[in-house]
Structures are given as structure tokens and as C-alpha cells.
């Protein structure tokens, strides 16, 4: 059982541990933001079953763990890091090792004019005023103790700013390499992505963890899309099987902007992704898609909050999960359509494929509609592989394990195919196959 005292005590403890690794310079506005977050956290209610946002996702394991502050990147073996991040993507590549920008491994020197891509630490030193304009303007850091902790312990991350009408041809690829041989540690990367009017870009984020490595990756990303801006945002979570992972993504959209988010979650012991997206300007569109696989000793959680506050916006949310062993998944998709948000168009779906009896999913699609002229729908399915399909494939000579994997891949393809970068699609499919292989192995310890 967790108690409010325990939750606050843990927060204080992490705060103390994290303070050892502070920024070289902290402008006053950032100092204020940090203090705000700390004050807000003290007022937050207990994140337990009585709290709707945490109803099915227990944070007990996290609260039982005392994490060391950010592990310094120079303590990590560079060759191991390089082995962990293979990528055939033709990209502007940025690498963060244990939450800290690593110049040696990053290759993005040939960025076109109008694009600025720098570590948060550098941005604070060189562009503090520009950063101040955007920082904290999109995220509400008082929603959970973890987003508050991210703000309070801000240490590094990325600042991406793309000028108006600049179309970036190659994707920006951010690789977070997380590795620890000895202690449990935490990191709180903080990113800010701004696309000025008419700008277009693709952002890829990969979270790679060495197993066994136990850490808490607590990531917070603020995204602002100005008028007519288009961002494709692909995320691949392949954390260590012993890791805690939390990603909070806050998106603000101006008129006629388009946000396409695809998240694939394969790793982690406890992994949660939150999307917070508000439509405050008309004629904006967003698509949020996701795929998750979970097996023994894994919990994966997706929380979506999409608010249609104004008229004529369109949102699509499509999430699919494959569960096996004793894997657990949580899906909570909430779409709000305010009374002035006429002609809103929203669709939400969550489909789950259960490969074993002992897997569990808690799925909660919610449409909350106050406008009368809207086009909204939601649907949830929980099913198993179809024996007729398996028989058909086996009657063609395909062995059962292969047939099952092909059907699972077929189920997942609808999400993976939304990634329009072929090397990334291939990589994602490989990760999926790896994950499914774990399912076909005899389960140990039973």
C-alpha cells in the first residue's frame, strides 16, 4: 500500500538525489518554473486506484525504489553504447546517453538553414530568451509527480526549432541510450519542439536500454505546431526489460497544423506513455497510433487525452496490443468534445490480441461529448488468434509457431505501416518478431 506520506517522501528523496547533478546555469525563469513544479507536487493527490489517471497502473514499485541521480555519460563504455544503437536511417542523429546529450556520438552537422537543433544545456547558454518563450508553455507540469519531477530536476534534453516554411527532408533521429551496470538511477530528459508556420519535419525517437539495466527514464516533451505546420513523430520504445519508462508528450496545435504520432512499445518492466493534446485552434488534425507487446513481468500503459475545445478539428486514435505470458496492458483513451467544438471528427479504437490466458488488459475508451453536431466513434476489441486462420496456414505447410507469428505481424502491420520510413519499419518489425519469439519460448519458472 502506498500512502500520501510515502508518495511525498519519495518525491523529496528523488529531488535530493537529483540535485547533485544540476545545470551549470539556471536563469531566473527556469528557477521559478522548477520551484512551481515542486510546490505543485506537494499538493497532488495520491496516485493510486482512487485516482482515475492511475486506476490500473500501480506506482508502488517505483515508490519502493530509491534512484541515484543522473548517471554521468562519461562513466559509460562508448563501444557498448555504439553497439546498442544500430540504425540504417539517413538522419540527423542526436544521441543522449543516460539522459545527457553526447556530442561525440551525434551527427547532425549539415542541418539546413532555419533549423536549430541543440541540447537543452547549450540552448540555455546560447539562446535562453528563445527557450524562455516556449518552455513550460505547453505542458502542465502539475498533473503528476513525475512531470513535476521532470521539471524540478531538469538537467538536459533537446531544443528543436524550425523556422517558418522550412521543410526538413531528412528525419531528426533522437536515440536515448540507457545503460547502468551497477546502480539504479533516474533521468529526466526534457525536450521542446517548435515548428513555426508552414514548417514540416519528421522526428524519430528511439529509447534503447541495455538488459539488465535498472533505471527510471522519465521523459517529457513539449511540442508546438504553429499554423500549417506538419510533424510526423515516430517513437520506438525498446527499453531494458528491468526499466521504468515514462513518456509524457504535450502537443499544442495552431490552425491547419497536423500532428502524426506513432509509438511502438516493446520494452520496459513498467512503461507508460501519455499524450496530452489540446485543440484550441480550428481546422487542426492529429493522428495518434500505437502498438504494444507485453509479456511476463511487463506492464505497458497508454494514456491519451485529446481535447476538442474548438470547432472543425479532427483526431484519430488507433492503438493495438499483443499480450502474452502474464503481460499486462492498460489503455485509457479520453476524448473530450466541448460544447463549442461543432463538426468535430474523432475516432478512437483499441484492439487487443491475447495469446495466453494469463495476460490482462484494462481498456477504457471514453468519449465525452457536449456539442451536438459531431462525428465521433470509439471501439474496443479483445480477441484471440482465429483457429480457422491457423488451420488454413498449417494446411499450407506452415508450422504453427510461424503461422502464429505471421498472424501477429499481420495484426501489427496496420500500425507499423503508418511509419513512412522504410528502415524504421523494418527495424520495428524485427523488434516485434524478437518480442514474439519470447512468447514462443517455453516460459521459465512455472
Amino acid at each position: 500500500m502506498i500512502t500520501l506520506d510515502k508518495q511525498r517522501g519519495w518525491f523529496e528523496q528523488q529531488l535530493a538525489a537529483g540535485r547533485a547533478h544540476k545545470l551549470p546555469q539556471t536563469p531566473q525563469w527556469l528557477q521559478l518554473a522548477k520551484q512551481d513544479a515542486i510546490d505543485a507536487a506537494a499538493q497532488l493527490p495520491l496516485h493510486n486506484r482512487q485516482h482515475e489517471a492511475w486506476r490500473y497502473t500501480s506506482i508502488e514499485g517505483l515508490l519502493r525504489t530509491s534512484f541515484a541521480g543522473d548517471k554521468q555519460a562519461h562513466q559509460v563504455d562508448q563501444t557498448i553504447v555504439e553497439e546498442m544503437m544500430p540504425s540504417s536511417l539517413d538522419s540527423y542523429r542526436v544521441v543522449l546517453v543516460n539522459g545527457q546529450f553526447n556530442a561525440q556520438l551525434s551527427t547532425y552537422g549539415d542541418l539546413p538553414p532555419g533549423v536549430s537543433l541543440e541540447s537543452l544545456r547549450t540552448a540555455l547558454a546560447t539562446d535562453p530568451d528563445l527557450l524562455a518563450t516556449w518552455f513550460g508553455s505547453i505542458a502542465n507540469h502539475s498533473e503528476s509527480i513525475f512531470s513535476a519531477l521532470n521539471t524540478a530536476l531538469i538537467n538536459d534534453g533537446l531544443f528543436i526549432h524550425i523556422d517558418h516554411d522550412v521543410e526538413l527532408q531528412r528525419p531528426i533521429e533522437v536515440i536515448y541510450v540507457n545503460i547502468s551496470e551497477d546502480q539504479q538511477f533516474m533521468m529526466h530528459p526534457r525536450n521542446l519542439v517548435v515548428l513555426q508556420p508552414g514548417a514540416k519535419a519528421t522526428l524519430v525517437e528511439r529509447f534503447v536500454g541495455a538488459t539488465p539495466s535498472s533505471y527510471f527514464h522519465n521523459n517529457l516533451t513539449e511540442i508546438s505546431l504553429q499554423q500549417n505546420a506538419v510533424l510526423k513523430h515516430y517513437r520506438l520504445q525498446e527499453e531494458s526489460r528491468d526499466a521504468w519508462h515514462l513518456s509524457s508528450i504535450y502537443v499544442e496545435q495552431q490552425s491547419h497544423s497536423d500532428y502524426r504520432g506513432v509509438t511502438l512499445a516493446f520494452g520496459g518492466a513498467w512503461a507508460r506513455t501519455e499524450y496530452h493534446l489540446d485543440f484550441d485552434h480550428e481546422h487542426a488534425t492529429c493522428g495518434l497510433s500505437g502498438l504494444y507487446t507485453v509479456g511476463d513481468k511487463q506492464l505497458t500503459d497508454f494514456h491519451l487525452t485529446v481535447k476538442h475545445r474548438v470547432a472543425d478539428c479532427r483526431s484519430r486514435e488507433q492503438f493495438k496490443g499483443i499480450l502474452y505470458g502474464e503481460g499486462r496492458a492498460v489503455f485509457d483513451g479520453h476524448i473530450l468534445v466541448d460544447k463549442d467544438a461543432q463538426r468535430s471528427d474523432a475516432q478512437l479504437s483499441n484492439d487487443n490480441l491475447m495469446l495466453t490466458r494469463n495476460a490482462e488488459v484494462d481498456t477504457k475508451p471514453q468519449l465525452e461529448i457536449y456539442a451536438d453536431d459531431v462525428k465521433c466513434s470509439h471501439g474496443t476489441t479483445i480477441g484471440r488468434l482465429d483457429p480457422q486462420q491457423l488451420f488454413y496456414m498449417r494446411s499450407r505447410g506452415i508450422d504453427e509457431a510461424t503461422a502464429r507469428n505471421m498472424l501477429c505481424q499481420g495484426f501489427a502491420a496496420e500500425i507499423i505501416d503508418q511509419i513512412d520510413l522504410q528502415p524504421l519499419r523494418e527495424h520495428a518489425t524485427e523488434r516485434l518478431v524478437d518480442s514474439l519469439k519470447r512468447n514462443s519460448q517455453p516460459e521459465a519458472g512455472r
Binding site: 482465429d386 483457429p387 480457422q388 486462420q389 488451420f391 488454413y392 496456414m393 498449417r394 494446411s395 499450407r396 505447410g397 506452415i398 508450422d399 504453427e400 510461424t402 505471421m406 498472424l407 505481424q409 499481420g410 495484426f411 501489427a412 502491420a413 496496420e414
Partner: protein, 259 residues
Amino acid sequence: MNQMKPNTMLSINNLTVDVEGKTILHGLNLEIGKGEVHAIMGPNGSGKSTLSHTLSGRDGYHVTAGEALLDGEDLLSLETEERAHRGVFLAMQYPVELPGVNNMTFMRESLNSVRRARGEEELDAVAFIKLVRAKAAEVKLDPKLLKRDVNSGFSGGEKKRNEILQMALLEPRLAILDETDSGLDIDALRIVADGINALRSPDRSIILITHYQRLLDYIEPDFVHVLSEGRIVRSGDKQLALKLEEQGYGWITGEEAAA
């Protein structure tokens, strides 16, 4: 056990099968020689599909007595995929849709599984594409369908042609065609029948399961059997099929009841 004749491919002896606790096949006997085409006809509920599903190893079909030997080997103890590896092919009455599974990938995996089991080299992607294109042209299947998901959104005729294409690729020793004529218009029927005729060979035996004589106008069988209440009650040549077309099944099943 019956004595196997030297040219026998499939020998079914006293096959008795239960489905959901109900006996559907009651001691069925059937001998199929190499290169022969046998038509199995019969009224609805006589056990035609039970026979095809039992031979291909579908779950839920419980063999309580009897045997089926393929080239002298006990077929019924093999897994479904092992039967396919031995050369058994079932063209289904209702080919299953596999959303998300690419038709080309599926067929390549299928062919290579069978080739591996036979100790043959697997075909690489290029060699396979060449082969499948050529075979698709033979069965007049639109090559665009190769790039789609297996059977997903295919018309009835396209699904059946896709089955025949798989048969052409796998080159089975024993092909069981379950109601392949159902749901086809006359043009589609002709194309499918041409495809099957092209696959007739001295090393390949074919079982045509059909309710109507119509298919036999296009594929001439060597033998025709009538299945009723889980047994073969009459065997003959194609003349038997014509008589059934004229007079229905009543005269045979009635005769049985009287006997």
C-alpha cells in the same frame, strides 16, 4: 488392414469420425490410385466436408476407428503441416482471409516450408516472384492480388483461383478440392477447372468434393462415389454423376434404406 495395391496413393479403411460427439463418418472405405481423379458427391450433411477436414487434420474431427494411409504411411497421426509436407493439399470451400498477411509472403513461406520438409533448397525472393507470376498467369489471377493481403476483399472467384494458384505452386501428390465450384459463375468455373485440369498428372491424385454434377462437365473424373450418411453407398464412372443430375440422390439413399 487391407492389402495395398501397388499403384494406390490413398487408402481409407473403415474411417469413423465424430464431430461434437456425433458420429458423421460411419466406417468409410475408399481407395485412390496414383493419377486418378475421384469425385465424391452426396446430399448436404452426408459427411463430404468432414472427410476433407479429417484428411487434412482439422481440430474437432475425432477419428474413433479406421485409418487413412498415404503411400502406406498413417496420415491421421500427422500434424496438419506435416500432411502438407507429404503432399496433401486442401482447396477450401471458404478460403480464409488473412488480414495483414501479404499474399506473396504467405505463398513463399508455404512453398519454402514444403521444400524444406522435402530437403529441397528454399527459393529466394527473386526466384519465387518469377515462379509465382508465371503460375498466376496460368490460373488467370490478376497479379495485383499477389500484393494484397491473403484473400482479403477478394471476390468468390478470386479466392478460388488463389487456391488453385497455391495448388499449382505446391504441386501436391493428393489434392482435395472441397466444393471448389460453389459460388462460381460459369466463366469463373471454367477458369478454375482449366487450372485443375492442367495439374492432372500420373503422379497426382485428385479428390473432387461436389454437390453438383456441373463441375464434372469440365473436369472428367475417373470414378464417382456417392456419400450418404457417412458411407460410400455407390461407386461408378461419370455416368453415375449424370444419373444423379437427372434423378437426384433419392433413388440411391432410398435403395439403401430399403436394403
